[in-house]
Amino acid sequence: MRNTGWTALAVLMLSACAQQTGTESEEAAEAAASEDTEIAAKTAEKDEDDKDKADGAVHPPLDPYPSTYEAYPGETVLLTGATVLTGAGDRIDNGAVLIADGKISAVGAAGDVEAPEGARTVNASGKWITPGIIDIHSHLGDYPSPSNSTTSDGNEVVNPNTAYVWAEHSVWPQDAGFTRALAGGITTLQVLPGSANLFGGRSAILKNVPSRSVQGMKFPGAPYGLKMACGENPKRVYGERGGPQTRMGNFAGYRAAWIEAAAYKKKWEDYWADYDEWVENDDDDKGDAPDAPTRDLKLETLAGALNGDIAVNMHCYRADEMVQVLDMAKEFGYKVRTFHHAIEAYKIADYLAENGVCAAMWADWWGFKLEAFDTVGENVALVHAQPGGCAIVHSDDALGIQRLNQEAAKAMADGRRIGIDIEPEDAIAWITANPAEAMGVSDETGTLETGKMADVVVWNGNPFSVYAKAEKVYIDGALMYDRSDPKRSPRVDFELGLHDNSFTGGAGQ
C-alpha cells in the first residue's frame, strides 16, 4: 500500500470512520493504493455522502500540496549490449534494457530482449546500465546554491521540536545543485530538514526533474519522512537557549513529544469513533455531530510517525545512542526506518540488522565532530555483511550527491580488502534499491525490474570507477540528461545570463 503520510493518516481516520460500513472501508483501502487525486475525489464523494446524513466529518486535508509531476515524453528504447546491474542483485553482461511507456518493459540478456516495432535500438556495448541513483539524505533546494542567508532554508532553529515544518516548503526548485546531481545519475532524492533539532520536520521525496514548483518534483504517492537528530547538534544549538543541554535532555525531549503525540493520536481516534457512533445513531434528537479536535501540525506529523505512515529518519552517529533510540522506539511503538550518518554502525551492525533498521553512511567522512571520530572505511561493508543488514550510502552534500557511485566504490573496495565478498551488483543496491526501500518507494523505483519506473542511468564505463560518467539519465523513460547534448542538459533560471558561461558540457560541468 502506497500513500503519503498525510493520506495515510487520513486514511486511518477514514477507516476508523467507516468501520461499520464495509463498502466505505474497502473504498478507503482502495483509494489509499491509488493516485492522490483519486483519493481526493473519493473523499470528496464521501463527504458528499456524509452531508446527506449530517454536517459531515472534519477531515484534515488528505494531501494539501499534491504532486503535480507528470512524466515527460520518452521513446521506446532498447539499450542493448551493456553490462547491466539491476539493483536487485543481478549482473547481466551483454545485457539489454527495454524502456517503453515510461516503464522498464524488459531486462535480460541482449539476445533475449526484443525491440518492439517502432522502438529505437541503442548499441550500448561498453556501457554500464544501473537503476537511477537515489540519495536518501540531501538538502538540495533547502540549502541551495548560491548559499547565503537569504537562501538558507534548511534548519528551523527556533525550537528543539519543529516537527511542524515540511522541508518541501523550503525547496527552491531553481537550485543548480539539482542539475549537477542529475549529471551524477541522481533520479530520486529525499530532501530532509537539517539536524539542529530533536525533531526537524517532514522530508520531501522528489524526482530529480526540473520544475517551476516543488510540487512538480514531488514523487507521486511517496510517503513522508520525519527527520530526527541525536547527540551533539541539538545540545550544541539549544544548550544555551533553554535546552536540551545534554544527551539525557535530548531523550527527555523526544519522550515528552511522543507522549504528547500519542495523546493527540488517541484524541483523533476517539473523535472518529464518536463520529461513527453519531452517524449510526438513528435517534431524531441525537444532536449535533461531535466537534473535531483542533489540528496541530507538529502532532499530526508525530502521530503519523507513531502509526507507521511516516518513516523515521534519525541522524545518529554513535552506536550507544542508536541502541538507546531503538529502546525508545519500542517504548512508544514506532519504528526507526533509517539511521543517518551512522558512523558507528559497524559496532552494532548485528543489532541494527536484528531490528530491521537501515544505516545510511558516508564512505570516509570523519573527524569534523567528536561523534564522527570513529569512522572506518569498512563501515558500509560490515553493515552489508550482516544477514539482513541494510546498508545505504548517502551524501548530505551538494557535491557528494554528484558521485555517490564513487563513494559506494570506496566502501566496496574497503570491504573486499577485509575479505567480504561484495560485487558491483551488490554494492549498487546501497545507492538504489536500499534507499528506495527505506524511503518507501521501492515498488516504483530503485531496481531495473519490469513494470517499475524507467529511472535508468547509462554510464560510460564501470560506475565503480573514478573515471565513470553518467552519459544518459532517464527518468520515467524520458531522457532528462545527455552528457553529449546541450538540449538535454538542464540549466536553472539562476544560471542564465550570468557571466559568459555558455554550454560547457552539461549541467554545470
Binding site: 546554491s145 548560491p146 548559499s147 547565503n148 543548480a176 549537477r180 551533539e232 550544541r236 559497524y346 559496532k347 552494532i348 551492525a349 548485528d350 570516509d364 567522512w365 570523519w366 573527524g367 569534523f368 565532530k369 567528536l370 571520530f373 570513529d374 569512522t375 572506518v376 572505511g377 569498512e378 560490515l382 555483511a385 550482516q386 544477514p387 543488514g389 551538494a398 557535491l399 554528484q402 558521485r403 564513487q406 566504490a409 570506496k410 566496496m412 573496495a413 580488502r417 577485509i418 575479505g419 567480504i420 565478498d421 570507477s465 573514478v466 573515471y467 565513470a468 560518467k469 539562476f494 544560471e495 550570468l498 557571466h499 559568459d500 558561461n501 560547457t504 558540457g505 554545470g508 560541468q509
Partner: protein, 438 residues
C-alpha cells in the same frame, strides 16, 4: 555472512615483507630497499614498465628498468603494482586539528574560539602548534600522502599565518620546511572581515604590505613612530619574506575579477603568489599563466555556491593546465587522502593522466621551492615512495607500502584498529574493550 570477514587475507611474500619493514620503521638508520618490476610513474619523466626504484640512505639512488638490487637490499617484488612518488597535499590543517568542532582539539581555526579580538594573523606560526602524534597523520599516510603543507586557517584578520611543509612520518622531527608560505584570505572571506566589500579587503591587503615595507625599511625607526595600533609589529615582521618575494603567499580567491585584481597587485608588489580556490580560474587562465601564478583548486567543485563561484566547473583544472598553469588539488585536513579522487575526477573531465598525477606530487613540491628535493622519482631526491595495488587515481586503489625519507611506514592507524576490534561481533569471553588495539 559475518564469518566471511574472518577469512584470512592471503599473505603474500610482499605483504610479509611490508610487515617486517614496518617493524623497522622506527629504526635510526634507513636501509637499502629495491622495489623491482613495478609500473613506475616517475612523474618528472617517462612511465617505466617493469621499472625498478632503489632507495638508499633515505634517498632515491636509482630509477630505471632492469636494475640490479644492491647486495643486502630488502627486495620488494612490485610486479603488477604501481609505484609513484608520495602524495603531497598542498594546503591543509593536518597537524593542527584533531576534531573540527572541539575547541581544545582544534588549533587551526581561531575563528571557532572566543578570538574575535585576537590581534595577530601573519605572525602565527604553524610549527608552534604542530602535533605530529595526531591521529589524522597515520590515517592519511596509510592512503599514500607523505607530505603536506600545514597551514593555519584564517581568523579575525585576513592573514592566517605561516605554514610549514611536514612529512607524514609522525616523527617529532617531521618538519620539512618551517615558514614555507604565508596565507591570506581574500575574495568573499576577505570582504566579510573588512567592512563587507572587496574594496575594503584589497585596501587592507595593500595597507599590510605597505606597512610591512615601511617597517622592514627601518624597523627601529618604525617602532619609535606613533601608530594607531591597527598593525601588530609581529605581523609586519612576519611579512618580511612575503614583501621580498621570497616566501610564497597563498591567496584565497575564487572569482575572475578577484583574480585579476590579485594579478595587478602581485605585479605592483612583486609578490610570489599561489592562488587557493580559483573556482573561476578557467575564465582567466591565460592571465594566471602569464603572471606565473600556481593554483591550488578543488577538483570536485562545480556549484555556483557563492556569487564568486558562478562559473565553477569540473573542467577548471583541465583548462588551467591546458593554459600552462601549474595546478594542484587540496582537501581540508582529515581527508587530505582524497586529493587523488580530485585528480581522478579531473582526468575524467579532460586533464591528462600524467598531469593529474603531477598535480598531487611534483607540483606542490615545486610551489614551495622543494621541487629539487621532492615530488618525483629521480636519483638524488628524498625517497617518498608509494607502492599501490592499482591505478593510484582510482578510488578503489590503496597503497601496499609507503616510504617517507626512505623509511618504510607503518600503515596501521586508528581506523584500522577500530575496524579490527569490531569486524567480528560475536560475543567473546571479555568485552570489546579488550580486543585489538595492538
Amino acid at each position: 555472512m559475518i564469518g566471511a570477514t574472518k577469512k584470512a587475507i592471503p599473505m603474500k611474500t610482499f605483504t610479509a615483507f611490508i610487515a617486517a619493514a614496518a617493524a623497522l620503521a622506527g629504526a635510526a638508520s634507513a636501509q637499502t630497499v629495491a622495489i623491482m618490476d613495478g609500473t613506475v610513474h616517475t612523474v618528472s619523466g617517462d612511465v617505466i614498465e617493469n621499472g625498478d626504484v632503489i632507495i638508499r640512505d633515505g634517498r632515491i639512488a636509482q630509477v630505471g628498468a632492469d636494475l640490479s638490487a644492491p647486495a643486502g637490499a630488502s627486495v620488494i617484488d612490485a610486479s603488477g603494482k604501481v609505484v609513484t612518488p608520495g602524495l603531497f597535499a598542498p594546503v591543509s590543517a593536518i597537524g593542527l586539528v584533531e576534531i573540527g568542532a572541539v575547541d581544545d582539539a582544534n588549533d587551526a581555526s581561531p575563528a571557532q574560539g572566543p578570538m574575535e579580538s585576537f590581534p595577530l594573523g601573519a605572525a602565527l606560526n604553524a610549527i608552534d602548534a604542530y602535533n605530529p602524534s595526531s591521529a589524522l597523520i597515520p590515517v592519511n599516510r596509510a592512503a599514500g600522502v607523505t607530505r603536506a603543507l600545514m597551514a593555519p586557517s584564517v581568523g579575525p584578520t585576513i592573514f592566517a599565518g605561516r605554514a610549514a611543509v611536514i612529512d607524514l612520518s609522525g616523527r617529532p622531527n617531521s618538519v620539512t620546511r618551517a615558514e614555507a608560505a604565508q596565507y591570506v584570505a581574500m575574495g568573499e572571506r576577505g570582504a566579510e572581515r573588512n567592512g563587507g566589500t572587496r574594496m575594503g579587503a584589497w585596501a587592507v591587503f595593500r595597507e599590510y604590505l605597505d606597512e610591512a615595507r615601511s617597517y622592514h625599511a627601518n624597523p627601529n625607526d618604525y617602532v619609535r613612530r606613533p601608530h594607531d595600533g591597527r598593525f601588530a609589529i609581529s605581523d609586519l615582521k612576519a611579512l618580511g619574506p612575503v614583501i621580498n618575494g621570497e616566501q610564497p603567499l597563498i591567496v584565497s580567491v575564487n572569482s575572475a575579477n578577484d583574480i585579476r585584481t590579485l594579478i595587478r597587485l602581485k605585479n605592483t608588489y612583486r609578490l610570489n603568489v599561489i592562488i587557493h580556490g580559483a573556482t573561476e580560474g578557467w575564465r582567466v587562465a591565460d592571465e594566471i599563466d602569464a603572471a606565473n601564478i600556481s593554483v591550488i583548486t578543488d577538483g570536485l567543485y562545480n556549484l555556483p555556491g557563492e556569487f564568486e563561484d558562478i562559473d565553477a566547473t569540473l573542467k577548471n583544472a583541465a583548462r588551467l593546465n591546458e593554459a600552462g598553469v601549474t595546478i594542484t588539488f587540496s582537501e581540508g585536513a582529515h581527508n587530505i587522502r582524497l586529493i587523488r579522487q580530485h585528480a581522478g575526477n579531473a582526468v575524467a573531465e579532460g586533464l591528462p593522466y600524467e598531469a593529474a598525477l603531477k598535480a598531487i606530487t611534483l607540483n606542490p613540491a615545486t610551489m614551495y621551492g622543494l621541487g629539487g628535493q621532492l615530488g618525483s622519482l629521480e636519483a638524488g631526491k628524498i625517497a617518498d615512495v608509494v607502492i599501490w595495488d592499482g591505478d593510484p587515481l582510482e578510488v578503489t586503489t590503496k597503497p601496499e607500502a609507503v616510504f617517507i625519507n626512505g623509511r618504510p611506514q607503518d600503515l596501521n592507524n586508528r581506523q584500522k584498529m577500530l575496524m579490527e576490534r569490531y569486524r567480528d561481533l560475536e560475543r567473546g569471553d571479555l568485552p570489546f574493550a579488550y580486543r585489538g588495539g595492538e
